[in-house]
Symmetry: C2
Subunit: 196 residues, 2 copies
Amino acid sequence: MAELDADGMDLIFRNARSQNGFLPKPVSNDQLKALYELMKWGPTTMNTQPMRLVFVVSKEAKDKLAPALSPGNLPKVMAAPATAIIAYDLEFYNHLPRNFPNNPNAKSLFEGKTEHVERTALRNGSLQGAYLIIAARALGLGAGPMSGFDNAKVDAAFFPEGKCKSNFLCNIGYGDPTKIFPRNPRLSFDEACKIA
Amino acid sequence: MAELDADGMDLIFRNARSQNGFLPKPVSNDQLKALYELMKWGPTTMNTQPMRLVFVVSKEAKDKLAPALSPGNLPKVMAAPATAIIAYDLEFYNHLPRNFPNNPNAKSLFEGKTEHVERTALRNGSLQGAYLIIAARALGLGAGPMSGFDNAKVDAAFFPEGKCKSNFLCNIGYGDPTKIFPRNPRLSFDEACKIA
């Protein structure tokens, strides 16, 4: 296959919309696993893969997440079959001896370098968050990414050991088309890009 | 279309590889524009769209980029039809009155809040960088993202006015299959994810 057909491009980009409500149709654990198994192939710096995911599915876990949410995001999370906490692991470099054998010193490029670790984790954890959104759409699921929440509360509730930090949240399920907002404009090519 | 077929999933994720060398086959300005017009639909926090792109194509622009590159990345950039500098605009919030009419106060949530602006720009500029990589593949192009370069030198050469900062680079072209490295392992579902 040389390129996606028009329907494929519509599905993952052009017609895809952030979901604000979900149909009462479950998403199975097998679907969540298939989602990870697809998005995991997206590239990261030195194969660092700093993203960590908690799929919040149970009533107990939703109740644990609820106090961290903005009022606008609470009902979306409660209606979603799953809410992914997209986090990053500040000790991602411990996996490099296995995952990036190309450079036997890869781990030492990060260890003890707090600011470099944090930027690398945020950059690459966000790349992986985007792969998750696109992979969900590719698998026929809807994604509703959200930044409106209290990161410190999420971290205290889900990552008390302190090495993982929440980045953003993403509801996953079958979107309710009646809940979608009108689409907002994008910057034009000339506003965002230059050919030099 | 309910979901991508297996060939589509292979194209954008499962068989897609980071390109380390490029065939001598040009990429037109129209293709670079089509790439932006596809990736621009990916979601960002409050439609902030902080990513800014410079497509480095000309000999002059390549020569301007060269001193910032690590020795391993220099030949890849020189062989690539285009090298995208994926940057972010620290004044992205000036576009919010037009691009996020949902909240008339959106701009004031960022203005003057340096740390919040920087994190939002890095997070969302990286999401958009991932959309760029996936969109390139969807359009039949190869992508070779790179972090090994001197950000300060790139910023001084391409963004001297100071409001844009380089995030990462990505070569774009038709990949040379003989230059691809063996694929490195990914974290297992249980290493990266939890269902709660």
